[in-house]
Symmetry: C2
Subunit: 333 residues, 2 copies
DNA sequence: TTGTAAGCGTTATCAC
DNA sequence: GTGATAACGCTTACAA
């Protein structure tokens, strides 16, 4: 049936210890022995059982990436990069989706760590870092800014600064009725709040009054929310000549509504998004957006997790990755 | 350190056997014992070690999904659905990406199966089913049509019929210079070939001559390929009033080129895509497309894999999932 | 209903 | 440099 170390050992006329040494590329094996063992391995088609190995070693060389949804473009890209970069250090990534369900989020962070995975990378949606910190049973790195001492490592871009940049860009184009789409006062996930802070701060700095009627809330960050938020804004009677959307998906939804209302982008309304998903590069017109350095985020998070695994008692860190404004067609001048 | 069955047993004053029974929800445990054990489990924060469990049981309750890229919208959606549906039967899905590399494809199908996973769902790109069949060391289900007896189970939609439907729709709109974007004669993956067969067959049936100059080849199925293929078509001097793209991504790329050339969609050129990715629902104009029933594909594949695991010797099956034409703005009349 | 003990396939600690 | 052999944490006959 299943061929293990024992069968190979018998065939090569050595002990399991020696086979294990060869299979793991250990140094001190006589060349002749190595050759004989390797041959037996090939002939029998031996493949090591990773479960047994992990059980014995107490390490899985696997980390999990917990995100709200796998098929959201931003998370799909992030996951893809994370898998690729993790591979460089010999790690396997297990991708988990929570569907934004707080209980699943809690379970996926608390449950498997230290058992089936060595650590967790989590992009929380409905649960605060503070709670995750209390729940955790092993190394956890949070993707997203730390708002206060949380007891957890965090990796994120500077969302406030990015919000300022996006809004200031719209203002620099001469727009004075700049709306914001994406406020989420109901969530523990503080990202939207930070981008909103940036938006308000840029307006203040430019001496443009902050009209609360220009701030649209959303339930999720997907296209339908962007479309309906844009419609609400337009229907409210507020004048709008620019809009900062907290995700590209929201922006793409908003653009659809603008097109349906016969409003031109960017002539009538300029649009800036956030995330730099590929859809935005190919929309017509192409979307101006804040581009977070996703590869850097993934790499920092993985490095940070490795450090945390190596030293569980180290003080927690707050790492910030780069971002930049990508000026394309929906907001340029 | 790590709390296991033993610690819990000691605390509850029972044997490990009983703790295991409680942890696994076994029937025959005295209510009082169960209560005591459960309390010890909670107090000690016991979490079962899945590696040990899997090693002992010889089953991982995990399957892997091998796709070219996680962040391709189609595969991201499929992965998301697969994870969700697999959950219903208590399975975990491990998502692997091959980047279209044949060696990785071979490794990911042949390596882990029977060791760290109970079976594999594979959407091959560069390796033929026949070869995968020879390489496999355990249950494998291929996502994609069987072109000949392959020795493997297959799940797919009827790509020829879908190609006919898409092309016929364009013809029904009065278009007579219908191009096809997406031919991939260099790949083992036969999907493009089948869609092309459908395209040709629809033209023949309508008595429209098949102009080979209207068939554009691509290297990958992403937007840049669609954009450059469209540009080549236009530059070749061929008249084009309709185009059938073998993926929505290709279509979105092609639409970008059309916009840059000042051609209107659908007035000047009507466009039909394939896959029904969400981007197409929100593009301006919205993309008419062939919509494969992805949830059905995922469910069929999982069911098929379960059956294969249960009976490795059963004759291989060829399952076909549903698809339909979704008429939106880029091709309607 | 519950306890005892034998493995699952590895790796790691001793010896030799 | 290589061979016995004891764990790793769990499930499961077999007993009691």
């Amino acid at each position: 049936m299943s061929v293990g170390l024992r069968e190979v050992a018998a065939r090569a006329g050595v002990s399991v210890r020696t086979v294990s040494n060869v299979a793991n590329g250990f140094a001190h094996v006589a060349p002749d022995t190595r050759r004989r063992v390797q041959q037996a391995i090939d002939e029998l088609g031996y493949r090591p059982n990773s479960n047994a190995r992990q059980l014995r070693r107490g390490r899985t060389e696997t980390v999990s990436l917990v995100v709200p949804e796998i098929d959201t473009p931003y998370f799909a890209e992030l996951a893809s990069l994370t898998v690729r970069i993790a591979e460089e250090r010999g790690w396997t990534v297990h991708i988990d989706q929570t569907d934004g369900d707080p209980d699943r989020e809690r379970r996926m962070v608390a449950g498997p760590v230290g058992r089936s995975v060595d650590g967790v990378l989590c992009s929380p949606w409905a649960v605060s870092s503070e709670e995750l910190s209390r729940l955790r049973t092993g190394p956890v790195v949070v993707l997203g800014e730390r708002r206060a001492a949380s007891g957890l490592d965090h990796v994120a871009i500077d969302n406030v600064a990015a919000g300022v940049t996006a809004t200031a860009h719209l203002l620099s184009l001469g727009r004075r009725r700049v709306a914001a789409i994406g406020a989420q006062p109901h969530l523990h996930n503080g990202t939207a709040r930070l981008r909103l802070d940036g938006y308000r701060s840029a307006l203040r700095e430019a001496g443009v009054p902050v009209a609360e009627g220009l701030v649209a809330r959303v339930q999720t960050l997907h296209r339908p929310d962007g479309a309906s938020a844009m419609a609400r804004l337009l229907d409210s009677g507020e004048q709008v000549d620019g809009v900062f959307c907290f995700t590209d998906e929201l922006a793409l939804g908003a653009m659809r509504t603008l097109a349906e209302r016969g409003l031109r982008v960017p002539e009538d309304v300029a649009v800036v998004g956030f995330d730099d998903i590929v859809d935005g590069r190919w929309s017509v017109p192409a979307l101006t957006t804040i581009s977070p350095d996703k590869a850097q985020i993934a790499r920092m998070a993985l490095d940070c997790l490795a450090a945390r695994i190596a030293d569980p008692a180290a003080p927690d860190r707050d790492l910030v990755a780069a971002h930049r404004l990508l000026v394309r067609e929906t907001a340029s001048g």
